[in-house]
């Protein structure tokens, strides 16, 4: 009997506080499950064997680290709610003659019980779901499916060790709190008188101003590179502003409402507004954190989903054709030599040897170099380029000079240019606004027209900086003089012949053709002692699995972390509301005695919980709307410019998020109401 006294006491303690412990235990189970699945996937042999699987596994390994750290913080946080609620009980035990050592034993048994439930249930759920997760990953990687079931012991061990450590830390923290408190303090810890919060107008105003600035920055930025630089500044501003507005702004708004006597002294507003002041004072920081968490989850989820869904787009931007041959030459004359004809026919021959025909041929000459564009002049000087300032980044361009003939042929146009005139095309949403443009010290070209499209060559997709294409009538002349001037300062100009074609066959055949072509080109050895004719062969097929594993890994992780963070956010809300329910109990009791109907109480509760719950979601939505232009520009850096897709994905993410949110809101408001009204019935 005596032997089982402490375990029994512990178990009763958990059972009697079901409303508090159930979500906590569920959280523990969920975290164990998530962590196990991630460590399972990063150890899975099946994944490792698939092409690109290892990239994915290293991303997932990173993710399991994030989940581990997050579990620690999050479980600590939720546990602190539990302890605060139970301090009174512990105080009573203490007064009844249980020493702190006895209390510690009860707590030890409680922790053991919770850890046992969480670990066993979490691992079982994890093992069951891990196979599904694996199948999902294999599907993302487009590998072949196997149905064998494995349980890697190292993943189990990792999970057990991590969570054992977390539970021990939580227990130690609880013991510390119990140890520091005296019995009377424990008994009273819940009812400490609250001063009415004062509105801090200065902070509220500062919050509004900073938020306005951040929004302005987000909306007004036009090019991706500045977006990248300003993104973090804007994020920090938004975070600061959100905290200020939730903490000081909300109280200020309530105070303004209270001053409007006609508004305030109405049945619907009276109780709600006055309680909201206190609620926001206590929860302002928490709600702001939740709001920021929500925004981050949404941004992360929509960006990763977008990247994954848009993988083909990105691939096409990086590899404009199934197979591309990029030939670097040392002399403009080589661009019209017979070597080029030889490569062309070699390509056709290799393709037809495999029963294929090159289609959709991309064939043009280009001279490329980085340039610093200022006052209608492209500075090609190496030293200027190396000493430019960070904020002048938007003035650095990748310059491509292309013959007008090639432009006309590729785009099916019929443009004509007089000498000294040029057509211009820019990428990555950057604009060039001057009428003339000069290359180095040459006579300036007159920009006859800004054209709206040109075939990409993959270089643009690889670089952060935007590209500027100049289509000139006398290519050889322009380029020769450029190479001459550059030679004195170290040659930055590369002459290229770009040749690409599509194939209508499977990835395997494409890879085979690419390999054969590479070998054949090696044998041709077109470079000589003093001239360079170096051809590089690239195929999209080879890159596809690599890209999918990278984007797919990010996608998977984005979704998984998104789920975990949403879970965390709403659970924190749940606990906040529940613990406030206990505090509000006696208030609603009084109101009922004074003549408030149950219906009015329910209405007031609903409006308060609704505000507390949906304020962060709504704010997150507004943040997201203003962040949208920034995200759009940043994704453009990943060659993803499909704005419709981005909007669609963002909206869907938001809706799913909101749905989940509403669900938890309903559960919470029901639990809250039962706490507020339930105790009253017992008291009578």
């Amino acid at each position: 009997m005596k032997k089982w006294f402490y375990p029994k006491l512990a178990w009763t303690g958990i059972r009697k506080n079901k409303k508090l412990y159930t979500p906590y235990i569920l959280t523990c189970v969920g975290m164990v499950m998530m962590f196990y699945i991630l460590s399972f996937l990063s150890a899975s042999e099946i994944l490792k064997s698939i092409a690109g699987g290892e990239t994915m596994q290293s991303i997932l390994g990173l993710g399991s680290g994030v989940i581990g750290v997050f579990s620690l913080i999050f479980l600590f946080y939720t546990n602190s709610f539990l302890i605060r609620r139970r301090k009174k009980e512990f105080g009573l035990y203490n007064i009844l003659g249980m020493g702190k050592w006895n209390l510690a034993r009860v707590l030890l048994w409680e922790s053991l019980a919770i850890a046992a439930i969480a670990l066993s249930a979490g691992l079982i759920a994890g093992i069951v779901l891990s196979k599904f997760a694996e199948l999902g990953m294999v599907n993302i990687l487009q590998g072949s499916v196997t149905f064998s079931m494995t349980i890697p012991p190292e993943a189990i061990l990792q999970t057990l060790v991590l969570f054992a450590v977390i539970f021990v830390l939580i227990l130690l923290n609880t013991l510390r709190q119990i140890h520091l408190a005296n019995p009377i303090g424990l008994l009273r810890s819940e009812n400490t008188g609250d001063k009415p919060p004062k509105a801090n107008w200065l902070l509220a105003l500062a919050g509004a101003v900073i938020l306005g600035l951040a929004y302005y920055v987000a909306v007004s930025i036009e090019d991706p590179v500045s977006a990248l630089i300003w993104f973090f500044a804007a994020v920090i501003m938004v975070i600061v502003a959100t905290y200020l507005l939730f903490i000081a702004g909300s109280v200020a708004v309530c105070r303004i409402l209270q001053r409007k006597k006609k508004y305030y002294y109405k049945t619907n507003h009276f109780v709600s507004v006055s309680s909201m002041v206190y609620r926001m004072k206590r929860n302002g920081a928490g709600l702001a954190s939740i709001c920021i968490l929500c925004t981050m989850v949404l941004v992360m989820a929509s960006a990763t989903v977008c990247l994954y869904v848009g993988t083909e787009d990105s691939l096409r931007a990086r590899y404009p054709r199934n197979i591309s041959l990029d030939t670097r030459v040392s002399d403009p004359a080589l661009l019209d030599s017979e070597k080029i004809i030889a490569v062309r026919s070699l390509s056709a021959k290799t393709a037809s040897a495999n029963g294929q025909e090159p289609t959709n041929i991309l064939d043009y000459r280009v001279a490329g170099f980085p340039g610093y564009v200022q006052d209608g002049r492209i500075e090609t000087n190496d030293s200027i380029l190396n000493s430019f300032q960070l904020f002048a980044y938007s003035q650095v361009w990748q310059i491509f000079i292309v013959p007008l003939d090639d432009y006309n042929r590729l785009m099916g146009q019929n443009e004509t240019l007089a000498p000294g005139e040029a057509l211009l095309f820019t990428t990555k949403m950057e604009k060039y606004t001057k009428d003339t443009i000069a290359i180095g010290d040459q006579a300036p070209f007159k920009v006859k027209k800004i054209v709206s499209d040109f075939s990409d060559n993959g270089a643009n997709a690889m670089q952060l900086i935007p590209s500027m294409y100049l289509f000139v009538p006398n290519f050889t002349e322009t380029v020769s003089s450029l190479i001459e001037t550059n030679d004195q300062e170290g040659n930055l100009t590369d002459l290229h012949w770009y040749y690409g074609f599509d194939l209508s066959c499977s990835d395997e055949t494409q890879i085979r053709i690419q390999k054969q072509l590479e070998q054949a080109l090696d044998q041709l050895s077109l470079s000589t002692e003093d001239t360079i004719f170096a051809t590089q062969c690239e195929g999209v097929a080879q890159a596809r699995s690599r890209t999918y594993s990278l984007y797919g890994g990010l996608f998977f992780l984005g979704i998984l972390l998104g789920i975990v963070f949403i879970f965390a956010a709403v659970l924190i809300m749940y606990y906040k509301q529940i613990s406030e329910g206990y505090e509000d109990q006696f208030r609603f009791e009084i109101m009922q005695k004074v003549g408030m109907t149950k219906k009015e109480i329910r209405k007031s509760i609903n409006s308060q919980i609704l505000t507390v719950f949906f304020l962060p979601l709504l704010t997150a939505g507004i943040h997201l709307v203003f962040a949208f232009p920034l995200i759009h520009k940043l994704l453009a850096l990943f060659s993803l410019t499909n704005i419709k897709l981005l909007i669609l994905v963002t909206v869907i993410c938001y809706l799913i998020f909101a749905l989940f949110y509403v669900l938890v809101y309903r559960i919470t408001s029901r639990a809250y109401y039962s706490i507020v009204s339930g105790a009253k019935e017992e008291a009578v």
């Binding site: 009276f270 006055s274 004074v594 109907t597």
Partner: protein
Amino acid sequence: MRILEVNGLKKVYTTRFGGNKVEALRHVSFSVEEGEYVAIMGESGSGKTTLLNILAALDKPTGGTVLLDGKDLSKIKESGLAAFRRDHLGFVFQDFNLLDTFSLEDNIYLPLVLAGKPFAEMKQRLAPIAEQLGISDILRKYPYEVSGGQKQRTAVARALVTNPRLILADEPTGALDSKATDELLQLFSEINRVGQTLLMVTHSVKAASHAGRVLFIKDGEVFHQLYRGNSTNEELYQKISDTLTMLATGGDKR
């Protein structure tokens, strides 16, 4: 005119486990006339609080009727009860039951706001009451900033502001020191003098000695009652003490 009429009131509680029955009120009958000041006395567990809860329509009796202004409380629908309470009854509690999120002023306004009265009228009603109770200067303060006596006076103001037919006070002096107790009892006598009907539940002899009539409850029944007649507070105090002694030392009916 009769304000309150209680006939054969009975309340039986069934404990949650086992089904043991506890009879809190066996057979309680009494009535209160308009303008009266009645104190109900009894020891802990004698059924005082149960009685008050039933009178306040916060609890339902097992048997018997309560007529307030000739209206049977059990006939009022659940949805109308809160409004009825608000319009006809005022409450003063032992632990004040002020809301700490409201200033004293807003606490007093609460029943009026719930009744949907316009702000101008609320203000008009509060001014004379606050003056009478001596809390005009502290209306802007919050409950945690003022003394127990001031809190209780605020609670009285909240009870008075709706012009209720009957004020129910549950151990109103229970949490007050002797000075604040004297002040509050003085106040009750004053508002009774201008015509307010009061029903107070207490086990303080001193509090009861201010009433016009004292009912004694024992074992769920009205056991005895004392009228003030022409006695002073001190004389009534003595009579109550004697009665209590008799009750305690075996004045058993049976």
